[in-house]
C-alpha cells in the first residue's frame, strides 16, 4: 500500500506549479512593496530581551557596546548605517548580516537576545535616550 501511495506523488503536476507560482507572486509583490517604500532610516533602536533600551540617531557616528548578562554585541554607526562589528555569540551571524540603513531593517542576534531596528523617528515611550 505504501509504494502505490508514494508512486502517485512522484511527478510534478499542475497543482505544484500553481502552488509555487502563487507563493512566488505573493513574495515578489511583498518584496516590491517593501523596496519601493524604503526610506532612509532615522534612528537605531536597541531592543534587548523585549525592552527598548536605547536609541541612537543614524546621522551621528557612534560605537557602543551592548551588553546583556554575559554577552555583548559591538554596534557601530557610521555614515548613516548601522552594523554589528563583533559579538560574543558562537555563530556570529549578526556580524555577517552587514549594514542596515533603511526603515524596517534590523540587525538581530538571536542567541544574545539583542536586536537593533531602524525606525524613522524615536517614539516617546523610550526610557533612555543616549
Amino acid at each position: 500500500m505504501c509504494i502505490k501511495y508514494s508512486m502517485k506523488l512522484n511527478k510534478i503536476n499542475r497543482n505544484d506549479i500553481i502552488l509555487i507560482a502563487v507563493l512566488l507572486c505573493i513574495s515578489l509583490v511583498a518584496l516590491l512593496i517593501f523596496s519601493l517604500t524604503k526610506t532612509e532610516g532615522g534612528y537605531a533602536v536597541v531592543v534587548i530581551d523585549g525592552t527598548e533600551v536605547a536609541t541612537y540617531p543614524l546621522n551621528q557616528d557612534t560605537e557602543v557596546k551592548l551588553t546583556y548578562q554575559n554577552d555583548f554585541n559591538l554596534l557601530v554607526i557610521k555614515d548613516g548605517a548601522a552594523k554589528i562589528k563583533d559579538a560574543s555569540c558562537p555563530d556570529k551571524l549578526c556580524v555577517h548580516q552587514g549594514e542596515v540603513m533603511y526603515n524596517g531593517e534590523s540587525l538581530v542576534c538571536l542567541p544574545n537576545k539583542i536586536s537593533v531596528k531602524i525606525v524613522s523617528d524615536a517614539e516617546s515611550n523610550i526610557d533612555i535616550i543616549s
Partner: protein
C-alpha cells in the same frame, strides 16, 4: 520487524542530523541564519514513502538532538517551531493527494522559515523582523524545489528496506 524498523529510522535520523550540520557550515549572507533546509530531503522521503508517524518521529528527534548537540535551549525553540509548522503543513498536503513531493517540500521549506520568524518576533517582542519574510519565502521556495527534486530521486531509487 519492529527492531529493524527502529534501526532504519534511526539511521535516517542520523542522516538528517548530518544534513543539519552540513548546512550550518555554510554561512549565507541572509538575515539571521537562513537555512537551506537540507534535512527536509530525508523528512520528505520518509513522509512520502514510509509513513506519517515515522516522519513526525524522525523530524522531532532530529530537532531535539541537533539542538542538544550543536545549539542551546533557544535554538531548540526556534527549530521546534519551524519543524512543527512545516510538518503539519506537509502532512496536510500529503493527505490531500493533489500535490507531488516537490510541492510538499516547497511548502515545508517556507513553513519552516515562517515558523522561525514567528517565534523570533515573539521572543524579540518586535514585529519588525517579519520585514524579512519575503526574502525568506523566496529562498524557501527555491530551496524547497531543489529539496523536493532530490527527495523525489531518493524515493525512486532507494532500495526497498522497510
Amino acid at each position: 520487524m519492529k527492531a529493524k524498523r527502529i534501526t532504519v529510522l534511526s539511521l535516517f535520523c542520523a542522516l538528517a542530523m548530518i544534513m543539519s550540520y552540513l548546512e550550518s557550515l555554510v554561512p549565507l549572507p541572509l538575515p539571521f541564519g537562513i537555512k537551506v533546509g537540507l534535512p527536509n530531503i530525508i523528512i520528505v522521503f520518509i513522509l512520502c514513502r514510509i509513513g506519517i508517524k515515522e516522519a513526525i518521529a524522525v523530524s522531532l528527534v532530529r530537532v531535539i538532538l541537533v539542538s542538544l548537540l550543536f545549539g542551546n535551549a533557544l535554538s531548540l525553540v526556534y527549530s521546534l517551531a519551524g519543524a512543527i509548522l512545516s510538518l503539519t503543513l506537509m502532512i496536510v498536503l500529503s493527505l490531500l493527494k493533489n500535490f507531488s513531493t516537490v510541492g510538499i517540500s516547497v511548502v515545508g521549506g517556507v513553513a519552516h522559515n515562517a515558523g522561525q520568524i514567528i517565534v523570533a518576533c515573539i521572543v524579540m517582542d518586535t514585529a519588525q523582523i517579519s520585514y524579512y519574510m519575503p526574502i525568506l519565502a523566496i529562498s524557501g521556495i527555491v530551496a524547497g524545489v531543489l529539496v523536493g527534486i532530490m527527495g523525489n530521486l531518493l524515493i525512486k531509487k532507494f532500495p526497498k528496506i522497510i
